[in-house]
Symmetry: C2
Subunit: 375 residues, 2 copies
């Protein structure tokens, strides 16, 4: 019995059902099948999971997925569509027949299926069971993440080198006589990632005022003496796993205010990493950073430390567990970021982020990239 079986049984349902493409990390985790179009996943307690795919995906699903697939027509969809032309309602009928009883679904299950299914049986909405299963990684999954982390570090090295070797002209970084822009650095990062079989998206290379907005992806020329926040969180094209890392650099001399922020962020990261082990509270680890920042005179809230200390990383770049006020106890095998940051409009931002595995006796840091502010 898996955790999913246990929870399904406890909910009184006969089966767990999921619907989505492999962009949905729950679906990718459950099906081990990579697909751009949605499939149905159905698991009766104690039985193997099944996926229902289109005729077109069948051959590939036989080869790739963890389970024996069935086609939609084998599952009766074409017959049902003759009497119920609405695809959502027809799919709901097909699911209900396959399950033969009440259902457990995730909160992200589409309302278009939930509503018609609710008139056919009891549909219980689950609370993060699959997400909690995903949070705890096997050593095989950790190996996948480690590989992506290596790609991430290689691409950070590419970015670092570009900034390190840049010349400065009128306060702006230059390379081969051209302004070195955020776009240029991102391009170089993405090319390195690609060489390692990974894809980067929404990569952050933000400088100056932009760096004060944690999720600003950055644009335009990079400037001397201003923090350059580089946050890279690529996905492996083969396994679907992510890694996540941030470094902040300054080209030339940094304002003392930035230097002090950098030291506080670095120390907060080190202090929080020391507290991480199986059983430690996600809220308590977050609080370590909050307290250290408070000691140095930095607020936590709308400015200063504006976000959670960290999050799980796996088939999604943001997943359980939470290192933040709402975080519960950490479990062995969880993979989390530790990413304290300080942000002040008008001054800029500094963030440093490592990725580590929660072990029974501490954090195993997967990050080996040096911390250095001045390039």
């Amino acid at each position: 019995m898996t955790l999913l079986d246990t929870v399904t049984e406890q909910s009184g349902a006969a089966a767990y059902v999921g619907y989505g493409s492999s962009l949905d990390p729950d679906m990718r985790y459950l099906t081990r099948f990579s697909c751009t179009d949605p499939v149905v996943y159905l698991k009766k307690t104690g039985e193997q999971g099944r996926i229902v795919v289109s005729q077109m995906e069948y051959g590939r699903a036989v080869q790739e997925s963890a389970f024996l697939p069935v086609t939609r027509s084998e599952a009766g969809l074409l017959e049902i569509l003759k009497e119920e032309p609405d695809r959502w309602k027809a799919t709901a009928t097909m699911i209900s027949r396959l399950a033969g009883g009440d259902l457990l679904v995730s909160p992200t299950f589409p309302a278009g299926l939930y509503a018609p299914l609710s008139s056919l049986c009891t549909v219980v909405i689950d609370d993060q069971t699959v997400e909690r299963m995903r949070a705890v990684k096997s050593e095989e999954e950790i190996a996948c993440i480690r590989t992506v982390q290596l790609a991430t570090e290689a691409s950070m090295k590419t970015a670092r080198k570009l900034i390190h070797r840049a010349k400065v002209k009128k306060g702006a970084l230059q390379r081969d006589g051209e302004p070195l822009t955020a776009e240029w650095v991102k391009q170089a990062i993405h090319t390195t990632l690609l060489e390692h079989g990974c894809t980067g998206a929404e990569t952050i290379v933000s400088c100056g005022p932009d760096s004060a907005m944690p999720h600003h992806t950055g644009a335009g020329p990079l400037l001397e003496g201003e923090p350059i926040v580089i946050d890279i969180f690529p996905k492996s094209e083969t396994t679907g796993y992510y890694a996540d890392m941030t470094r902040t650099y300054v080209k030339g001399e940094a304002d003392p205010a930035i230097g002090e922020m950098y030291a506080a962020v670095r120390d907060a990261k080190a202090a929080a990493l020391k507290e991480i082990r199986a059983g430690a509270g996600g809220a308590a680890v977050h609080q370590v950073a909050v307290d250290l920042f408070a000691e140095r005179g930095y607020p936590t809230g709308a400015t200063g430390f504006t976000h959670n200390l960290g999050h799980g990383v796996g088939l999604a770049v943001h997943e359980l567990p939470t290192l933040g006020p709402s975080g519960g106890p950490l479990g062995a095998g969880e993979v989390v970021t530790v990413e304290p940051g300080l942000y002040f409009p008008g001054i800029g931002g500094v963030r440093l982020e490592d990725l580590c595995v929660v072990r029974s006796d501490g954090a195993e840091n997967l990050t080996h990239c040096k911390e250095e502010m001045i390039l």
Copy 2:
């Protein structure tokens, strides 16, 4: 009044509400905000849309989104969470208070919000209104797609060159003394896409028996005399729009069976393209290909022509309209693929795919890549 307003009003709802990240093309279309974490979109009829974002995204949302954003705490979520700690239920309460009446949602709206909202008000599930809005592109959107199509063609050129220049040894393609693999060609395609600001994923370079499975992404050495199906559908990193194109090549001499399939597919594409104009039926255009294949002795079904003739392309790579048995009349400004294909296990597959804009007087083909089988 937009179409969304009209449909909302007709449904008896006070507001349309959406929930998701910008990976959800409806959300990206409605909010014009690129975000990896889910936001709430709410539009009361006749009013401007609003998005509810986290504190952390607020600054960026002010700069980037089409509307004035509100933070979750401004929208009352933090207050509600004090009494209702379940985040889904608390978010439902927040939405219900913001809307002040009944709601219209999409079929993909999460059940985790739909269920608690249904106990607070009437929630009507919409049928593809936003998808139908997305289907018809403005000239500005078409310009975005055109740009991605140029990137797609540049990357096809890269692939073509690799195959064209490959040497053949013992039936396998070689480059610099190494086997030229599907992985190698995909890597080269992705690098070219990146140079054009686009990202490729699930790109297909499939050869031999793999090519008989339309969605097999392909792996391993490319072979002489076997069809090599290359299907590229990248996304612009800046605009979020997709393009889509397929070419099939053979290195060396092709089996006459493959040559005949190629000619039939090419002729089916040309015949279907001629039928495309505003008002033409998606089913009728699909039938043109079915009929042409039948004339040449090729079946439509489990083998032969196994999929729809085409689909819309925009902020999703598969969207409305449908060129297939269920397709309704095409509208001016829709952007569709025309991609007949023939697949026979043991023989292989051939697919050719162009991208075109539906105009009142015909199809404006956005594809300028030559058709040539033998390289």
